[in-house]
Subunit: 272 residues, 2 copies
């Protein structure tokens, strides 16, 4: 069905939903409410399902009009809020939730003298505690890149990847989100600090033995180190391989315990 001129064009998705982007459509001053009502009639007749509106900060006066017409909030980021209305009356709404998990990374950096790089945050949840340098993953950032960036920003230590160590998952954190914290072992490429004064109160290289007994190092942080030491002893690496989906041509990063290729090659040589 062709879209009439006085109706929002929108973009239709594979679930028969329509997304209207506020910056892609022209609305004469004062005629938003009228165009919205005509559009809702059209979409209802057309059996569309979810209707989505991306409303930009400069169009904030659309928000109460959409709310009066049965739209609710779905998600937002700086500059834009997305509102939705589920049209079908004989089918329940099974729209996915927006993201509710904050991704964080910690860098487990151990030098050749068996010392761990530890920091004490300026705005720490537990004042004076020692923890691994790290922070939030940026939008579209890979986990290893995020860990390397955060360690560099907070401490001035440049690093390279060794192994993923552990995931920690918890609920009820900042903004009501869950929190997935990925600990990544990194090899330092320099040893001299350059402390980020805004975020970090103190930092040091702490001998592993001291770290494992330190009253200001909490149990979970200790466990990350003992877990990594166990992997080292056993020759285990949780690696990352980048790949491209055959059909979707989309990039992926895959994380898994690396195969025993070197081990296998040695065995093959001994047996041949």
């Amino acid at each position: 069905m062709d879209t009439p001129a006085d109706v929002f064009r929108g973009i239709t998705d594979r679930f028969a939903g329509v997304t209207v982007d506020g910056r892609e459509e022209k609305v004469d001053k004062g005629s938003f409410q009228d165009k919205l009502k005509k559009s809702l009639d059209f979409w209802t007749t057309n059996k569309n399902r979810a209707i989505w509106f991306r409303v930009y900060q400069e169009q904030a006066d659309w928000v109460p009009v959409l709310a009066e017409n049965g739209f609710d909030f779905h998600h937002a980021r700086t500059g834009v809020v997305t509102m939705y209305r589920w049209l079908p009356e004989n089918e329940s709404n099974n729209l996915p939730n927006f993201a509710h998990t904050l991704m964080g990374v910690g860098g487990l950096v151990i030098n050749e003298k068996n010392e761990v790089l530890v920091v004490s945050d300026r705005y720490a949840m537990i004042p004076n505690s020692w923890k691994l340098p790290g922070g939030y993953v940026e939008p579209r950032e890979n986990l290893i890149d995020a860990a390397i960036r955060e360690v560099d920003e907070e401490t001035g230590i440049r690093t390279e990847f060794r192994s993923v160590v552990s995931l920690r998952h918890a609920h009820g954190g900042t903004f009501g989100c869950s929190d997935l914290y990925v600990v990544i072992a990194l090899k330092p490429l320099n040893l001299d600090f350059k402390r980020c004064e805004r975020e970090i109160a103190r930092l040091q290289w702490m001998p592993i033995a001291e770290y494992l007994e330190h009253p200001q190092v909490h149990q979970t942080n200790r466990q990350f180190v003992t877990t990594f030491l166990d992997y080292e002893k056993r020759g285990l690496t949780i690696t990352c391989r980048d790949d491209v989906h055959q059909v979707l041509k989309k990039k992926y990063s895959l994380y898994y315990v690396e195969r025993e290729q070197q081990q296998q090659q040695q065995n093959d040589q001994e047996n041949s």
Copy 2:
């Protein structure tokens, strides 16, 4: 400093930010703008930093007033949008982004006949492709619980945990979010299907050998199976242990490669 009566009370955080919850504060009809301006003056004098407003759907007419007063969107969920304004003029805004990662799980269910449980989604990205049953993690849900729930909902197969297998991380997915997909190996407790007709077009137990060669099984999905078979051969398990933080008394789930305890115990016995 005490909060005057004509100023929003709000709740102050450890970063000198203030959060105003629209359902916790009384505003007389038509006086929102006036109270907001007085509050902004007060917070500026008081050297507060980020100001947050949680605005509920029924208060949608606050949104354009907040926007005119320098507030922008930060995040939203059904029923409520959160807007913010950064007050300090001599300090850049370093507020964290909201969550931008959708968490999904896939269940790798292999039965005693070495067959994999596979499904073909009704609204598949690639029509007719076979994939692992799974879906999005619900708010506050643990990853293993999510995999067990999704497998049960989609196929009627009840399962128990064996091992985490792999993570797949990709960018630019639904709602512009990144996507973290966690594959979890599960042991089936029953074998008879009960297909979810709404979501699943077809399902079957597929012999592993066929799965690894099947043209409608894509490479990444094949790799999850070969990775798990490698773990099985090597006796590796990526396990989950629930823990409570010593100080914060907060629950965590930790994921890591399980220690070789049984192996170790056997060695100790042999050496004693």
